[in-house]
């Protein structure tokens, strides 16, 4: 739906995004994961057209720009308005014919379960309500692309589960969704694609299922701290990690496990535990932001 190619964005001397390239395929839920300051919000604002890239391009893959519903990270609203007034205002900006505005507002209120709060002033709404209102305004006009910057930030586990369930429903209804989160479990639960950003760069970009299905590693635990042998082990392959009393063999380094075990036994280490393990998303994330 959108292709981002070699986009760089600086704020004075700070590089927020550095040569970022990725594509947002139609009908997918793309999760942007990264620590604070990774460049996630900057990327959202660029996709929403609020910021201009210093270099590179963001272009639609189909014909013309799709309509975009944007939920900013911060829950800021014109607080003096009532919930339904705000949604009427947003509907008025979405080319919805006047006689259909009422229905569109009603539909979005129902979709996020906010019908009971329609007459409430926004300043009196709870954080959960404001999150759902932010989602409701993004849904008005039925835009095919939703940009949701931390949609469940600050919600209790029940509220998070509720938002995640709604995101899944929206994706099933054919929406393309880009969302950001600090929470790995949220990404695993709702996203089909994962992009890990750190310090303005894309460190990982893959489908979640394929990432989890293909990547495994071997963990070897020995009876005492690895001394000088840890350097020898690391010298075997760049994907051999030795720390404390643990050796981790990733990817192609797994082929060397027999050799590693022999080296450990020759050096009089006792093997306490050997395990072949699937890589978790937490480990992929930790590796990417290391």
């Amino acid at each position: 739906m959108i292709e981002i190619s070699q986009v760089t964005k600086k704020f004075q001397r700070v590089v927020a995004l550095d040569n970022v390239s990725l594509s947002i395929p139609k009908g997918e839920v793309v999760g942007l994961l990264g620590p604070n300051g990774a460049g996630k919000t900057t990327l959202f604002k660029l996709m929403a057209g609020l910021l201009r890239a210093d270099s590179g391009k963001i272009r639609p893959l189909g014909s013309g720009w799709p309509a975009v519903g944007y939920k900013p990270e911060r829950l800021l609203f014109p607080n003096e308005l009532r919930v339904s007034e705000y949604l009427h205002l947003m509907a008025g900006l979405c080319n919805i014919p006047r006689n259909e505005v009422e229905d569109a507002v009603l539909e979005s209120l129902v979709r996020v379960d906010l019908l009971d709060a329609a007459g409430k002033r926004i300043k009196d709404c709870s954080k959960g309500m404001r999150q759902r209102l932010a989602l409701a305004q993004a849904l008005i006009g039925d835009p095919p692309l939703l940009l949701l910057d931390e949609p469940s930030n600050g919600l209790d586990p029940e509220g998070q589960a509720d938002i995640n369930r709604r995101i899944k429903q929206l994706n099933e209804a054919g929406k393309t969704i880009v969302l950001s989160s600090h929470q790995i479990h949220e990404i695993t639960e709702v996203c089909t694609e994962l992009v890990i950003l750190n310090r303005g760069r894309v460190h990982y970009n893959n489908r979640i299922d394929s990432a989890l299905a293909t990547r495994t590693h071997t963990i070897v635990q020995v009876d005492r701290e690895l001394g000088e042998i840890s350097d020898m082990l690391r010298a075997l392959h760049p994907e051999v990690y030795a720390r404390g009393n643990q050796i981790i063999l990733r990817e192609e380094a797994m082929q060397l496990r027999r050799q590693v075990l022999v080296m450990l036994l020759d050096a009089n280490y006792d093997l306490l535990h050997v395990e072949e393990k699937r890589v978790t998303l937490d480990e992929i994330y930790a590796e990417a932001v290391r």
Binding site: A48, L50, R52, G69, P72, L93, A134
Partner: protein, 276 residues
């Protein structure tokens, strides 16, 4: 587009009217009326009425445009901007809001000032709409350029700097011409000393020409920019537009259009980093 502009203008108008600033402007309008057109005072001339209320309209337009621009420059408005096919619609809504609010207040004061005020003949009435509208429009656009909402880097310094140069040049024709010719003479000497005799003599010739004709050349150039405003004031005093004066409001509207296009270009290309 019309629907979106109406929706946004309505939203900004409502926020302005029910805000402290909006109420202060309305109170300011009433105080202005009491000070300048109190029913107890003598009947003002129609030209005084048109010029003074015209100036009031320009000031209110400028102030309300600054206020609306500041309110538009809020992060709560990000989702609205994202929904618009062009950011210029957002900017246009800010401009329309300020002009509608100021025009309403101006008309209110103008209506109140008619109590025991001048009896306006048809000629005077015909002068009012183009003059007030043109002056209000340029005030609104200048306010946009003065606001953080539109400004990019040093853009407002450049725009108001150029305006100041024209104002200064208009009022101090001789010193500007003399200053410029002296600088050119100095530059021509340096150029000649460095061996570029031809360029030096050309600069020296230009300096002499400016020195001889400075009141005509620079004065006319600077004065031309402000001619429409003088022409409109003259037309108000004369209570009708002459053939050339009739163009003045149109020229001021042209200035407004050019400045608005510049504002739209700046706003369209800038990073929208609204206040949270």
């Amino acid at each position: 587009m019309i629907q979106r502009l109406l929706v946004l203008t309505g939203y900004f108008l409502r926020r302005l009217i029910f805000s402290l600033s909006g109420i202060i402007y309305i109170i300011f309008g009433m105080i202005f009326w009491l000070l300048f057109f109190s029913p107890g005072q003598g009947t003002p001339d129609s030209e005084y009425y048109i010029l003074v209320i015209g100036a009031f309209g320009a000031v209110i337009t400028f102030l309300s445009a600054l206020t609306v621009a500041a309110r538009a420059n809020r992060a709560a408005n990000y989702p609205m901007v994202v929904r618009l096919p062009s950011r210029v619609e957002f900017l246009a809504a800010v401009l329309f809001t300020a002009m509608i609010f100021a025009a309403a207040l101006q008309l209110l004061v103008a209506g109140l000032a008619l109590i025991n005020g001048p009896s306006l003949v048809m000629n005077s009435l015909m002068v009012i709409p183009p003059v007030w509208f043109a002056v209000n429009s340029i005030a609104a656009v200048l306010a946009l350029h003065a606001s953080d909402f539109v400004t990019v880097n040093w853009s407002r310094v450049y725009i108001f700097g150029v305006l100041a140069v024209f104002l200064f040049g208009q009022n101090a024709r001789e010193p500007v011409g003399t200053w410029l010719s002296n600088r050119l003479i100095g530059l021509s000497r340096s150029v000649m000393n460095s061996g570029q005799i031809d360029l030096g003599s050309s600069l020296s010739e230009l300096a002499m020409r400016i020195s001889e004709n400075n009141s005509e050349l620079l004065g006319n150039a600077f004065g031309l920019v402000f001619w429409p405003f003088r022409a409109m004031a003259d037309a108000v005093v004369a209570r009708s537009f002459g053939p050339a004066q009739a163009l003045a409001p149109a020229i001021v509207l042209l200035y407004s259009t050019i400045l608005f296009m510049l504002a739209a270009d700046l706003f369209g290309s800038k990073d929208l980093d609204f206040l949270e």
